[in-house]
């Protein structure tokens, strides 16, 4: 425990110093993007990691928040009003999503969330009078809370960082609360939990709402970040990307999704500078993770690195360890 505090302080200092450490506005923006996706991945991880429910429709909820913000702003709301409206809309959408998807668990749950997510995508794409179809909805300006103009990349980064830290702390509290323990119980032993008198369905429902709330927060940040929202954000690929963030970092951990978000965003940005086939690469990464590192990207790379080191220097290790 005592070793944790210095590490925590160091990590916070590093996060706060990012705008000075990275060489320019572009990289500050990428850092903001990582934090936004980290909030999104934290939200999805509540379901995937702690409730054992894999959702492939979260990009739809993310999109609801983004579209609600953009539409409310376009309708003349102020920033506070738009954000409040977006959070309410996302929570309402999440409640419907959860009520339907939680009629099942396991694979059927996944299929329902996927279908619902695609329906939301279809809505964003075709309901042109509201969503402007493929052209998307622009956002004219970022808010300036207390005179702190978020149009400056570093200011936006700090605002995102603050919200990210709030989300992280709330996740920590959530997971370590009795409710979080109950949630993990419903993941591991739903029937026993039921026998013990816990309302398994309700616990999952609340967890879904919390997950949807974090997703909504990320969606609002995202629409302010890109100042634009289009149906592409709701596509199955986006849901798949976030799931990749959660899984690659390790499900059911607090820091895993954050590492995963950083990894995916960085790989995506580097990759799209050199190749145009990001989707192909994403697909290959998915297949490769499952085939070569079924335990997750971070532990898997460590294992593969050990293996590679041994393969490169067989005499040394073989001589020391002797024949296996």
């Amino acid at each position: 425990m005592s070793a944790r505090i210095p590490v925590l302080v160091l990590a916070l200092a590093a996060l706060a110093a990012v705008p000075w450490l990275v060489p320019g506005g572009y990289y500050i923006s990428i850092s903001s993007e990582i934090l936004i996706y980290a909030v999104f991945a934290l939200g999805l991880n509540v379901l995937v990691g702690y409730a054992g429910l894999v959702s492939l429709g979260h990009a739809g909820l993310f999109g609801v928040a983004a579209y609600a913000t953009a539409s409310a702003l376009a309708a003349g709301f102020g920033h506070a009003g738009a954000i409040l409206f977006a959070l309410t809309a996302t929570l309402a959408g999440t409640a419907v999503f959860a009520a339907l998807a939680l009629r099942a668990t396991g694979i059927v749950f996944l299929m329902i969330t996927l279908a619902l997510g695609q329906i939301l995508w279809g809505l964003a794409y075709r309901w042109i009078s509201v969503t402007n179809g493929d052209n998307g909805v622009p956002v004219a300006s970022r808010p300036a809370p207390l005179g702190f103009a978020l149009d400056v990349p570093s200011h936006f980064y700090y605002a995102t960082l603050a919200i990210f830290l709030l989300a992280l702390v709330s996740c920590y509290v959530f997971i370590h609360s009795p409710f979080g323990a109950g949630l993990k119980g419903t993941r591991d032993q739903p029937r026993r939990m039921n026998a013990l008198g816990y309302h398994v369905w309700l616990i999952r429902f609340y967890a879904f709402l919390f997950s949807g709330f974090l997703t909504g927060v990320a969606g609002i940040l995202f629409v302010y970040y890109t100042e634009f929202i289009s149906p592409q954000t709701l596509a199955l690929t986006s849901s798949a990307e976030v799931l990749l963030m959660v899984i690659s970092g390790g499900t059911g951990t607090l820091l895993g999704p954050i590492a995963g978000a950083a990894l995916v965003v960085i790989v995506k940005n580097i990759a799209s500078a050199y190749i145009e086939r990001w989707n192909m690469l994403l697909g290959v990464i998915f297949v490769a993770i499952v085939v070569f590192m079924p335990e997750g990207l971070v532990p898997g790379s460590v294992r593969l690195a050990h293996w590679a080191l041994k393969a490169i220097r067989p005499p040394a290790s073989a001589g020391k360890a002797g024949a296996p």
């Binding site: 894999v54 694979i107 329902i112 996927l114 279908a115 279809g122 309901w127 697909g283 990464i285 297949v287």
Partner: protein, 287 residues
């Protein structure tokens, strides 16, 4: 009046296509418990391969369709044997792999066939139509309906009347017990996966003259297959047949009446079924 008639015919045609797509999905899901997210890609791949064979290599349409189905079935078999075979029982891994493959296939198709939609002309023998009851029936659509009927009859006969079908049904009901009595369930898996993929590919090329083939066809069709299976119940042929026609009607009428919300109306039958009968119309309660 005639608008409704045309819509009804289109709905039945679309339902037939959906059946070709979702029957395989439902069988794979019912037997192997694999949520095969590549199914939309199989449909699209069938459309692309078939249209290339038909338009570029000038094969007769039905031969091209069968060849496309065979190619897609073989592709499905490769995926099953090389990847899914190792992942038995691990849902998350199966989801990731099928999702990854669907992304790869989508990008691969974009690379080979470019982003332009390919419209496939109706085969000359089936062009034109007939007028009956004040409705103009396009011959091709009637042919698609007939093909779907024939396929569903064949599938039903295969599952209900043959030894292989009995083994598949045993595998769906209780894979462990099926293994105990000497059925090689893993070989059934490969057969069913090939069959499902082939049917989806066949649907893709049969549907090409109606839907055309374009990037994104996969993610248009996959949710439809999911909704059909959620409606009909996994593993039930009758369920996917009924679900396909329900969705065919809902989708087509939705598109005609509320074009902006066409995708959203799909939501309604799904909500109804999930609220009233979560295991699907013909599904059994999950164990």
């Amino acid at each position: 009046m005639s608008l409704w008639g045309i819509l009804a015919v289109n709905s039945v045609t679309f339902g037939g296509l959906l059946f070709l797509l979702s029957a395989g999905f439902s069988l794979i899901f019912g037997l192997m418990r694999i949520p095969n997210l590549t199914h939309g890609s199989m449909f699209m791949l069938g459309g692309y391969v078939g249209s290339s064979l038909y338009l570029t290599y000038h094969l007769p349409f039905w031969l091209a369709a069968l060849a496309a189905a065979a190619v897609v079935a073989a592709f499905g078999g490769v995926i099953e044997r090389l990847l899914l075979r190792r992942l038995a029982g691990s849902t998350l891994a199966q989801v990731l792999v099928t999702l990854g493959i669907s992304l790869i296939v989508a990008d691969f198709c974009l690379m080979i066939w470019t982003g332009d939609p390919i419209s496939v002309a109706t085969p000359p023998a089936l062009a034109g139509g007939t007028r009956a009851f004040g409705i103009f029936f396009t011959t091709y659509r009637i042919a698609v309906i007939l093909v779907a009927c024939v396929v569903s009859a064949l599938l039903w006969a295969l599952l209900d009347k043959t030894r292989l079908g009995a083994m598949i049904r045993a595998g769906v009901d209780d894979p462990q017990m099926a293994r105990v009595v000497g059925i090689r369930v893993s070989r059934l898996f490969t057969i069913v996966f090939c069959l499902g993929a082939g049917l989806a590919g066949f649907g893709g090329i049969i549907g090409a003259p109606i839907l055309s083939v374009y990037p994104g066809l996969d993610s248009d069709m996959l949710p439809l297959a999911l909704v059909v299976v959620i409606l009909g119940g996994a593993g039930s042929l009758l369920g996917s047949l009924l679900g396909s026609f329900i969705i065919g009607f809902v989708y087509n009428f939705g598109q005609a009446l509320v074009p902006e919300l066409a995708y959203f109306v799909l939501f309604l039958p799904m909500v109804l079924v999930l609220v009233l009968r979560p295991q699907g119309l013909f599904g059994r309660q999950a164990p």
